[in-house]
Symmetry: C2
């Protein structure tokens, strides 16, 4: 039997420890092709590059068996380039991450990591985004590894429903507390309260840094935030049909 | 009674004819503040600027009564800056557009125009994205104007359901064919078939331009694509909860 073809990408850039870990795990499951950004692309959402050119070069980063391309574009550009230019056959799986930091709840719509997975799903490829709730470059990915292996193995075996990818978040490693298991959840209703850090440049002109505080408004028991708080891996099925079907009749009445 | 406060943004940039038209219409409905990108930000989806600084300067573009800010960031950055830094009270309405080109069906997830409206909805502001199916800089926005006025007037009067904004697409003006009315629809299942235009730079290194062909796979009668084909204005309610609720039990079985 042919080995499964696995496309790997992320939004932290091709040299980030999270994607290096994911590549090493994926090498046990199939033939791996990496197409990932040449630098940080966090918070790029579903952005694509249409006003500018895209560079994409074959690179060697470690001595693993995978093939790798480093790309100047966004995570979604990477998936599009892989599927339409670089790969010779359709991949059996697309995995994105492991993201350094949470992509739970509302973060899913800002996340380049998750948008890459959504783009895979758009082309009917079983797709998974993995994130660890730890921003540190020295983050410990080891505890989540067995869950990543279990999820990848299940998805390669059973696929995923059409039009759906999954958003997997892994709790931060805390000494003395073990991950309790996995929970399939819905996206919590949460938001960012932004504060713009206003500064003045050496020429006297104002500029801003975007900063913010995450606020979870959702008291539900079935959310990703709740699962993560209770030290479970959260798994949220994510779709690209953003129609608010339940609101169609209300909008009909309003207009 | 206080005049409604209306935030206006777009993704084609603050000088694009589409936003200038929208500003002139909105001036009839309330006090208008424009916070829009200083250049093209099409296809930026829900991207935010976190690895770089943001510039935002007060500008005067025409002699209208509106206040305007030109911003170096993405459409979503513009909304965040407006709500958290520039406006002194919460706006009663957020409108984005008029986009030069369609944001129907799958385009909604790539669109900076629509992501700005989604960001407004995230802050519980009634929000609308307007797009015209004509990319031309000389596009004729006049036929859609009465629908824009009707929709804005209805939304100011009745608001929108919590967590929902609306995606309004207006057919291209064709001599001899009048717009037939408005239809509230769901997002059609469609996609882009990409082709990367591969070129070689003067130094002999490869680069790519993203190009593609839009393909509608959806034969449904209730889609935005169908409404637009039949020369109706399409209105799709859009939500930021991207959980595929219908897939939760299937995923539970798979994992």
């Amino acid at each position: 039997m042919k080995k499964p073809l696995i496309l790997v990408t992320n939004d932290d850039g091709i040299t980030a420890p999270g994607i290096r870990k994911l590549i090493s795990i994926m090498n046990d499951f199939g033939e791996v092709v990496v197409v990932a950004p040449d630098g940080p692309q966090s918070g790029k959402g579903h952005a694509i590059t249409i006003e500018d050119t895209i560079r994409c070069d074959k690179v060697t980063i470690d001595n693993g068996p995978q093939t790798e391309y480093s790309c100047s574009g966004t995570p979604v550009d990477c998936v599009k380039l892989a599927l339409n230019k670089l790969l010779t056959r359709k991949p059996d799986l697309c995995v994105s991450g492991i993201n350094h930091g949470s992509n739970s709840s509302i973060n899913v719509i800002y996340s380049g990591t998750m948008s890459a997975a959504v783009e895979g799903a758009l082309d009917s490829i079983p797709s998974i985004g993995f994130s660890l709730l730890d921003h540190s470059k020295e983050a410990d990915f080891s505890e989540g590894e067995k869950y990543i292996r279990k999820i990848v193995s299940s998805v390669l075996e059973s696929s995923l429903p059409e039009g759906v990818c999954i958003n997997v978040n892994i709790p931060k490693s805390i000494a003395g507390i073990q991950i309790k298991g996995m929970k399939v959840c819905r996206q919590a209703k949460a938001n960012w309260e932004e504060e713009f850090d206003e500064r003045v440049d050496p020429k006297g002109r104002k500029y801003y840094w975007l900063t913010g505080k995450f606020v979870n408004y959702d008291k539900g028991e079935d959310t990703d935030e709740r699962a993560l708080e209770n030290h479970y891996v959260s798994v949220v099925p994510v779709q690209y049909d953003v129609t608010a079907h339940h609101a169609i009749s209300t909008i009909n009445n309003i207009l």
